[in-house]
């Protein structure tokens, strides 16, 4: 209880610092909407064949960009911001105070979740207003929210684990993007994986969590089928990341 109170208190300061770094906050919010407009303008007049169903390209991108924005907020943002805090000795200093590590991480993950929800809501509202995308409701909404929460937790854990591979804060953006960008493409976030996608790409997409997460989000917006196995794969990746982070995460810069 006390830990939660500490975490919520810490959350206030995490949030303040987030909004006071306008470039970071701006791009976190602007990128998904910008990509949504660009992709639908370029490719948005037809339908895309997903299994036996065909859905509007614009609906597809509303779902995709919803997924993309959560991954940005939880994975990319958290990995970059925590690497920065580690490299500027902020983490080392926090580690010398009675603030527990659990409270610190809870505050960071809650904040990432909060930003993700904001982003998904904005993307969905934007999609509904301009692209006639449907907004999930009823049982679909429950499944959708489950995937969203499991996804936020897992991609946050992956983001924390990713800092282990970041040698210093300057290299952060390059390293983190090198991890996530290729997988975003190979998982059909930017360009739909149609029925004719090469086998190796399909396999890459099956192994990593992004595709599974995106499929769960898609079922909310496009009414495609929802598989609990997708939630399971995303959750397992999150658990794996948690184990790795618990073992190897460091509060001090690598010097």
């Amino acid at each position: 209880m006390n830990a939660l109170r500490l975490a919520l208190r810490q959350l206030r300061y995490v949030n303040k610092a987030f909004w006071r770094n306008p470039p970071a906050a701006f791009f976190t919010f602007a990128f998904p909407l910008m990509f949504l407009v660009i992709f639908t303008s370029l490719l948005g007049h037809g339908t895309v064949q997903l299994g036996s169903r065909s859905i509007n390209v614009s609906t597809y991108y509303v779902a995709s960009m919803g997924s993309f924005s959560l991954i940005s907020a939880c994975f990319t943002n958290l990995a970059l911001s925590i690497s920065f805090q580690r490299d500027t000795d902020i983490l080392k200093r926090l580690d010398a105070t009675p603030l527990t590590r659990a409270a610190y991480f809870t505050s960071r993950v809650l904040h990432a979740l909060f930003v993700s929800i904001l982003l998904v809501v904005i993307t969905a509202a934007f999609g509904a207003a301009f692209y006639h995308a449907s907004v999930p409701s009823g049982i679909t909404l429950v499944r959708f929210l489950t995937m969203l929460l499991v996804g936020a937790a897992s991609f946050s854990a992956l983001g924390v684990a990713a800092t282990i591979a970041v040698p210093n804060a300057n290299a952060g953006p390059a390293v983190v993007n090198a991890m996530v960008l290729p997988l975003l493409f190979l998982s059909g976030i930017f360009i739909p994986l149609g029925n004719n996608a090469p086998t190796w790409i399909v396999w890459v997409a099956r192994i990593f969590p992004i595709r599974h997460f995106a499929l769960g989000m898609q079922s909310g917006f496009a009414g495609t089928s929802f598989q609990w196995s997708d939630v399971l794969v995303v959750g397992l990746w999150g658990l794996g990341a948690l184990v790795v982070a618990a073992r190897y995460f460091r509060f001090e810069p690598r010097r």
Binding site: L6, K16, T88, D89, I90, R93, D95, A96, P98, E252
Partner: protein, 312 residues
């Protein structure tokens, strides 16, 4: 540095006790059998060249590193085993300024205050470090000296009994350094124990009650800044320039350098000065710019370090 009443009442208590401390990183023996005792309420400086084991020792005391061997007690607690208990009672000013650039001074202090059971008031902290006018400024807009003072304020926010200051004034201009020294002295007046590492001899001279010189992973000398390396009883140098007239007699004529100064070594300064000035008055030869030079803390330090390096 401490007021007499405080040092009398608390100097018998021990804040830090280290014995036989050892720590290696791979094949590098950073600390090799270090012993140390710091009393409550004193300002204790640790001097030493880079790589001497200063930082490793301090970080073991702070709980950041685990020791390989030896015993360590900080405020009666083993920092290697009960670090969480120690955290609320110790303040650390790290070598590098490290607080979130996007929060204001006030927000930063409020944030840290929330971590401690008995935090100090923000107003009081700002007064101690002289940052009242920067209260609502973002950390990223503070000057280097101001950020350092904020670091001190953060270290004080939990009202610690013991403070670690790691090279607190490196990179300061002279006036900022004197301000910082004022802050450290005021901490001692509040009864805090202060452990200070520094590269600056004048800093140790000005602030410390006692100084330990660490080299090769051990304490090689310990004393007050005035007695370190026995410099209070070491050979003094007498220096002067001769006016018109005859040279001083044997034993008082020393060596004359290129700029015309006569240098004279003496183990008994009172006697030598007496002989010299009597000779001067009798002969009427003036002793221009007469000075007595004692080895400085820096001389003593360099001498000690050189001894250790010779042994290695």
């Amino acid at each position: 540095m401490t007021t007499p009443t405080q040092s009398a009442s608390s100097s018998t208590e021990v804040a830090i006790r280290v014995s036989g401390l050892e720590k290696s990183y791979g094949s590098v023996h950073a600390v090799r059998g270090l012993d140390l005792e710091v009393h409550r309420g004193e300002i204790f400086a640790i001097l030493g060249p880079n790589g001497a084991g200063k930082t490793t020792t301090i970080e073991i005391l702070e709980g950041y590193r685990q020791r390989d061997r030896g015993s360590v007690e900080v405020l009666g607690i083993d920092p290697g085993r009960q670090r969480q208990q120690l955290k609320a009672r110790v303040g650390i000013v790290p070598q590098q300024a490290s607080s979130d650039p996007f929060l204001t001074v006030e927000e930063t202090l409020q944030m840290y205050a929330g971590y401690y059971p008995h935090p100090k008031g923000i107003d009081e902290l700002l007064t101690v470090v002289g940052l009242q006018e920067k209260r609502t400024s973002r950390v990223q807009r503070l000057s280097g000296g101001q950020q350092r003072r904020l670091d001190v304020a953060i270290a004080l926010v939990g009202d610690p009994e013991l403070l670690f200051l790691d090279e607190p004034t490196t990179g300061f201009d002279p006036s900022a350094r004197h301000e910082a020294w004022g802050v450290v002295k005021s901490l001692a007046r509040l009864g805090k124990t202060v452990i200070l590492t520094t590269h600056y001899m004048d800093e140790a001279q000005n602030l410390a009650d006692r100084v330990a010189v660490v080299a090769g992973g051990r304490v090689v000398a310990l004393g007050t800044p005035d007695t370190l390396g026995a410099r209070d009883v070491a050979t003094a140098e007498i220096r002067f320039r001769l006016g018109e007239g005859p040279r001083p007699p044997e034993g008082l004529d020393g060596e004359t350098d290129a700029s015309g100064y006569v240098h004279l070594s003496s183990l008994d300064v009172t006697q030598t000065l007496y002989d010299l000035t009597r000779w001067s008055l009798e002969t009427g030869v003036e002793l221009e710019g007469l000075q007595v030079l004692r080895p400085t803390l820096e001389d003593a330090y360099l001498h000690l370090i050189a001894d250790v390096e010779e042994m290695a």
